[in-house]
């Protein structure tokens, strides 16, 4: 049977039991308002669920019974035993239908028009007081109601909410008997109904088998169980610790057993709380189906990872936000089919729902390929609501602007539909998710769709926490918010800087606001740190930065020590401590000590960030960085003079730190034992003092299993930038200078250092240039608009023994080629201004002189289409820009192939 139906049966059976009791009570206290509204609510729920599940017969009965109760509730109808009996009759009818559903999984055929008619008669006040058991046969002319005759059509008609303007219209249309009266096909039911009027005791007794299969346990019971198991685990840990000290006790065996049992018990209890996330999703396909009908859109809901399990408490908390977000995606995200077709998308929009585990968390992604967020509209709304000024908006990234949808009262939907758009959505979603220690992120591209990703803890009862220490006090930070740890000491290059007393850290390419935990908590013995001098007075070995993320807001908490992560059982703080925002709870560690759990949101607030989620979104930037093809990762370091130096990170195999005292000398060259091999070391500048007792960082370059280390003074940073060489280098070893992070930075020609160490560094590939005798006579034309690559590849090729000519544009290169120069091979970049590589190749191939010359394409990113196109226009091979091994071997291979061809021909 459908899971939904099973759930419905279990739930409705419970409601019906409750209704029975309540109705009896109501008969005794007809004026009990609370009771009345409770009854009304129960019946309403049954009706609503039936309509939702497409059970028209049930819905109809419940609907008409509800009408009467509505009148009871509004005081328009007096509660009399006759009416109550009538309601009981409806309940029995519902029960009958339900047991049939339980047996067959489908709503049985049947007709309840008699019962409905009598219900309606009461509802419309047509009944005569004394006529408590109307003989339907006597008044057939009143019987048929149009809606009763066509249950299939009307059953699926969505019932409008009472607040809906059309509600009353619908009511009017439905309620009055239709003028044309048709006899009911099955005339027999009336008899049954009459029988049913006697209190149907045995029927009430009959309990549902489905309901008996599962046991509903109060959450508190499970919660208590969980707490007790946690205590048991703690006690066991203590026992085990004690037993470890005195070995060979007779307790050892029973303790071991206890250990196992407790572990299993813990697992079992945890399992009772775990439910597959599919449970929260089960209603979504239906919702989407109905929505797409209602909105006239074509929507395909794809769900993956339904089996991902999470704590039921968490599940309950995210059920509504998830439903809301999926509705949102369907309502606002996905466009109408014709709009989609116009923009070249498939008519059917897709919504993907995906859940998976990741490091103790569950990630839920809701993705649609709709129109994405409309940045302009949000901007307008922000201005209208006075949330930011026009200047502030100007400075915001699209990402930051999008974050505003999580604010209260924010909806950009032009019209409020019944589905969503009331502006009470996303902020509630965010609040709910943050309440359970989760976070929500939004990534949207106009025209391409939006992705929401929700990160939530697996369970609320047990969380993984990082134990830290500040001013000799230990605290726990929920692992969920910890993004990374940064070590601050003399050796590392991370340094806390101050802007008018506020500490910040340069973390890669962004400024990270910092807080000192001991300051925030005003710990005794905490230090007041407001300047660089203060920092120097601190113990340099004892500083860690816990980089914490709340929503999209990143900040660092400086602590003295970082211990392990521990699984902790979160307990609420005592009432007298509730007002302190810095703590989200407390717990007992394995050693029995009590420890406070920090609330990162509280600390973020204390750090001055009131509204999380407005900050830059790092992931977005990472994404942008990865998309931007012209950016290069550079490793910045210091060596010798003050100017920072840079090398492409892709060339560096590893970063190591060595003790200078470990350096040995062989054949007058500095070497070090590194991974059981000797690695040659080259100081970056000759005057470097290698005899000092110090540690120095080393950039390790490896090639064909051989390593070489370049000793430098310190590593500064890694940046992703577009390299723009401003000055060509004149000093050997430097390619030139560029501005990086606002500083003049020397771009280092690694090739120079490698050659100075070993003349044949590049020749060890087994790919000696073709024709050893006339090495240097092989002429290569290199065309690349980027000076950086020209400068990187030229020495590489030269060292490999080729005669290289470089051209910075295809136009120039073409001129040179046409001027009668001879080249054995041409290597060309693809993305170039004016004339790109494809065009260049086409032009070249058109000329008789060049139609057979090997032509290699060089590109930083090659898609299969590019490669196809490249081959079409005449490129022989396609090589990735950074892959120097392949480049060299390809050049060699190509030349060898040609030579063979020529030989064969001759």
């Amino acid at each position: 049977m459908d899971d939904l139906i099973t759930e419905f049966l279990t739930e409705t059976n419970e409601s019906l039991g409750e209704l029975d009791l309540d109705l009896v009570k109501l008969e005794q206290n007809p004026n009990d308002k609370d009771l009345l509204s409770n009854i009304f609510r129960l019946m309403h729920t049954i009706k609503g669920t039936c309509g939702f599940l497409g059970l028209p017969r049930l819905e109809k009965v419940a609907h008409h019974a509800e009408n009467i109760m509505g009148r009871f509730r509004d005081g328009e109808l007096e509660v009399t035993p006759e009416y109550v009996t009538l309601i009981f009759e409806s309940l029995d009818c519902i029960k009958d239908i339900m047991s049939a559903i339980e047996d067959t999984g489908e709503e049985p055929a049947g007709d309840d028009s008699d019962l409905i008619e009598r219900l309606d008669a009461v509802y419309e006040g047509r009944d005569v007081k004394t006529d408590n058991a109307p003989e339907p046969a006597n008044e057939p002319e009143q019987e048929p109601v149009s809606s009763a005759l066509e249950p299939d059509e009307h059953g699926f008609t969505p019932t409008l909410a009472p607040s809906h303007p059309d509600y009353h219209k619908q009511q009017q249309a439905e309620e009055p008997p239709q003028p044309e009266q048709e006899p009911v096909a099955e005339a027999s039911p009336p008899k049954e109904e009459v029988k049913d009027e006697e209190p149907p005791a045995e029927k009430v007794e009959k309990t549902s088998a489905v309901a008996a299969q599962s046991l509903r346990v109060n959450v508190d019971v499970l919660e208590d169980l969980m707490t007790m198991v946690s205590e048991l685990v703690l006690t066991r840990n203590q026992l085990l610790q004690t037993a470890r000290h005195n070995k060979e006790t007779e307790f050892e065996a029973p303790l071991q057993r206890l250990n196992h049992v407790v572990s299993e018990l813990q697992e079992g209890v945890m399992k009772t709380r775990m439910q597959p996330i599919g449970n929260a999703w089960s209603k979504l396909p239906r919702i989407i189906r109905d929505l797409s009908m209602e909105l006239g859109k074509k929507i395909d809901l794809k769900m993956t990872g339904q089996d991902t399990e999470l704590d039921r408490q968490v599940l309950e908390m995210i059920k509504d936000p998830l439903t809301h977000m999926v509705r949102n995606s369907a309502d606002h995200g996905i466009e109408m089919p014709d709009e989609r077709a116009a923009t070249g998308k498939p008519e059917t929009g897709s919504i993907w729902l995906n859940a998976y585990h990741e490091g103790g968390h569950i990630i839920i992604e809701i993705k649609d390929d709709g129109k994405g967020l409309n940045t302009e509209k949000i901007k307008e709304k922000i201005l209208n609501n006075g949330l930011a000024t026009a200047e502030e908006l100007e400075a915001m990234s699209a990402q930051q602007i999008h974050q505003h949808v999580f604010k209260a009262g924010f909806s950009t939907a032009e019209k409020v539909t019944a589905v969503s758009g009331r502006g009470v959505g996303m902020d509630v979603v965010r609040t709910n998710i943050e309440k359970i220690g989760g976070s929500i992120e939004l990534l949207s591209k106009e025209g391409e769709g939006s992705t929401f990703s929700i990160k939530i803890p697996l369970t609320l009862a047990i969380v993984s926490a990082l134990i830290v220490e500040a001013a000799a006090e230990k605290f726990a930070i929920p692992q969920l918010v910890v993004r990374e740890l940064v070590l601050l000491n003399e050796k590392s290059d991370n340094k806390v800087e101050f802007i008018k007393g506020s500490p910040v850290l340069r973390l890669r390419d962004q400024l990270l606001p910092l807080v000192y935990l001991d300051n925030v908590l005003s710990l005794q013995g905490g230090k007041s740190v407001e300047s660089e001098e203060d920092v120097e007075s601190l113990d340099p070995e004892n500083q860690y930065i816990v980089v914490t993320q709340i929503g999209a807001y990143l900040f660092g908490i400086i602590v003295d020590k970082v211990f392990d992560t521990e699984e902790i059982v979160v307990k609420p703080v005592a009432g007298v401590l509730k007002e302190i925002e810095m703590f989200s709870g407390n717990t007992i560690l394995g050693d029995g000590s009590v420890i406070m759990i920090l609330d990162p949101a509280g600390i973020a607030k204390a750090s001055g960030e009131l509204e999380a989620g407005e900050s830059r979104d790092t992931e977005q930037e990472e994404l942008e960085a990865s998309i931007a093809s012209d950016k290069t990762s550079l490793l910045l370091f210091k060596a010798g003079d003050t100017a920072p130096k840079a090398v492409p990170l892709s060339l560096v195999a590893r970063l190591e730190e060595i003790k200078l005292t470990d350096i040995e000398y062989s054949d007058d060259k500095a070497v070090i034992q590194y991974r059981d091999e000797l690695m040659a070391l080259i100081p970056f500048y000759p005057s470097m003092d290698l005899n000092a007792d110090a540690r120095k960082p080393v950039l390790v370059f490896t090639d064909n299993g051989r390593s070489m280390g370049l000793i430098i003074d310190s590593i500064l940073d890694i940046v992703d930038i577009v390299i723009d060489v401003q000055l060509q280098g004149t000093t050997p070893g430097l390619m030139g200078s560029a501005i990086i992070d606002g500083k003049a930075t020397d771009i280092v020609d690694i090739g120079h250092y490698l050659r100075s160490h070993n003349k044949d560094w590049f020749k060890t590939h087994g790919d000696e240039p073709y024709g050893e005798k006339d090495a240097g006579s092989t002429r290569i034309l290199l065309v690349d608009d980027s000076p950086f690559f020209r400068n990187m590849l030229t020495p590489l090729l030269k060292v490999a023994g080729y005669n290289v000519t470089t051209m910075e544009s295809a136009v120039d290169a073409l001129k040179v080629c046409e001027s009668g120069e001879r080249f054995d091979m041409i290597i060309s970049d693809i993305e170039m201004p004016e004339m790109d590589g494809f065009e260049f190749a086409e032009k070249l191939r058109a000329s008789n002189d060049w139609k057979d010359t090997p032509l290699l394409a060089l590109s930083s990113h090659a898609t299969p289409q590019d490669i196809d196109r490249g081959q079409e226009v005449g490129f022989s091979r396609y090589i990735a820009k950074f892959d120097k091994d392949t480049l060299l071997s390809t050049i060699n291979q190509t030349l060898v192939d040609i030579s063979n061809d020529t030989r064969k021909m001759s």
Binding site: T235, E473, K571, V576, E579, M596
Partner: protein
């Protein structure tokens, strides 16, 4: 329980007259000492008596909160009663004892100097707070018992805890 039983016995033997009105003539208190002053805590509110404990400090909390401790797996908030009473912390009274009480389903451990006996006191010896009593004390005291050599201030635990914020 035994204290209650002995109290019951005493009522029977000591004060036969009061017996007519039943048990209501006597009440039992755990006597405690802070800075040589005797206090009483209604015995039924006492959950536990603890010796010195390892206490975790709670930053930013009120100064009357000494910290929290682990009592058989439950987290107990330790209250420095001296602070609540505005009494100085003296060097001589270093031996910390504490009495654990329950309030609103949470456990609190009241740190005091020393624990005395369980006393069964006659209600007729009870008096309201004297008008001259320190206002701070008046808030957290139910009244005073006149003992033979001593005066016993009855602590009103809920009020005491509500003063902390």
């Amino acid at each position: 329980m035994s204290a209650e039983a002995s109290g019951f016995l005493e009522t029977n033997t000591d004060d036969a007259k009061d017996n007519a009105t039943g048990m209501n003539t006597r009440k039992e208190y755990l006597s405690i000492h802070i800075n040589d002053q005797m206090f009483g805590i209604p015995i039924l509110q006492v959950q536990d008596v603890l010796g010195e404990q390892k206490i975790t400090q709670i930053p930013l909390a009120s100064s009357a909160i000494a910290g929290s401790l682990n009592l058989r797996g439950r987290i107990v908030t330790a209250i420095d009663v001296r602070k609540c009473l505005g009494l100085p912390r003296t060097e001589t009274t270093s031996k910390d004892m504490s009495v654990v009480v329950e309030h609103n389903g949470e456990l609190y451990s009241l740190i005091i100097d020393s624990i005395g006996d369980v006393l069964s006191l006659k209600i007729k010896d009870f008096e309201k707070n004297p008008a001259t009593l320190d206002p701070l004390w008046r808030d957290i005291s139910q009244g005073i018992f006149r003992l033979e050599n001593n005066l016993l201030v009855v602590l009103d635990i809920p009020k005491l805890l509500s003063t902390i914020h």
